[in-house]
Amino acid sequence: MARNRAPSPQTCAVLLALAAQPQAWRYGYDLMGETGLKSGALYPLLIRLSDQGLLESEWRPSVLAGRPPRHAYRLTAHGMAIASALPRPAASQISEQPA
């Protein structure tokens, strides 16, 4: 049963960070730095956004020799529509605590 609830602050932060550069492929570690989220919070969120069709991903070769490829992400058209409807925060202070 789907319930319409407002996105969590963490979700908003990730969507807005991705929407800031809609055509660019972003890496997880970069998103962590930009949103202030730790990996334990970010990756489950990315997984859920991907499951909901808001996020697309691809593997990109590493620029560093001998390193494994990196998973990169950007919003789908549906994700961009959702992100566009979000209010922009005046100051981004992201709490790690669950709402």
Binding site: A2, Y27, G28, K38, S39, Y43
Partner: protein
């Protein structure tokens, strides 16, 4: 040593992460390989473990959903039992002329009647707020409110306190404490499962 610790953490994350999510585990591994700072690497690896457990819990969300309703139903059942006990014991205490044979012919009826008549009235009165807390906790649980566990825990704590007081009272219950409070075990177990499922921030919908 740090590399070894991180490797162990990532191995553990790999064991916990559900099979269909292995691509995401590989994604985290890929990012980890590009982190230079050792402390940041440990923090990232710990986050991978957390993410894996959250995914494992998410796969069990149906159990969390069932848990919430089962816990609420069980809390209501316990509340009903307390209210029934209040009514029955109160009626017996209010009838001083009652005799053991009025309650039945089972062995031990005389001792049971003595116990009930000697049971402090104020302790009996506390049964009602215990039931009230359990009912409110059940309602808040159905409404997915954070106060649910506090209310249930308060009701359970007062019940345990009463059981302990009763044990220490002369002429009090001769039941072991475990028997007096055994009904709490399902509440504690179910509440713990539900609380764990609530801790996952990603389990909230977008």
């Amino acid at each position: 040593m740090i590399n070894s610790l991180c490797a162990r953490l990532l191995d553990h994350a790999a064991r916990v992460m559900p099979g269909p999510r292995q691509t995401w585990l590989n994604a985290m591994h890929g990012e980890f390989a590009h982190i230079k700072n050792p402390l940041a690497a440990i923090a990232f690896a710990l986050g991978c473990v957390q993410a894996s457990y959250l995914q494992r819990i998410r796969d069990m969300m149906i159990f969390a959903l069932i848990t919430r309703w089962v816990l609420a139903a069980y809390a209501l059942f316990c509340a009903g039992a307390y209210l029934l006990a209040t009514a029955l014991l109160g009626a017996i205490k209010a009838t001083p002329q009652i005799k053991p044979e009025d309650l039945g012919t089972d062995p031990g009826t005389t001792e049971s009647l003595s116990f009930i008549q000697a049971y402090p009235a104020w302790q009996l009165a506390v049964f009602v707020p215990i039931a009230g807390l359990l009912v409110m906790g059940a309602i808040q649980l159905v409404r997915r409110k954070r106060s649910a566990l506090t209310l249930l825990a308060s009701g359970a704590a007062i019940a345990v306190l009463l059981a302990v007081l009763d044990l220490s009272r002369a002429g009090g219950s001769d039941w072991p404490l475990a028997m007096s409070t055994g009904w709490l075990i399902p509440i504690i177990a179910l509440a713990l499962v539900w609380w764990l499922s609530r801790r996952a921030p990603d389990l909230k919908p977008a």
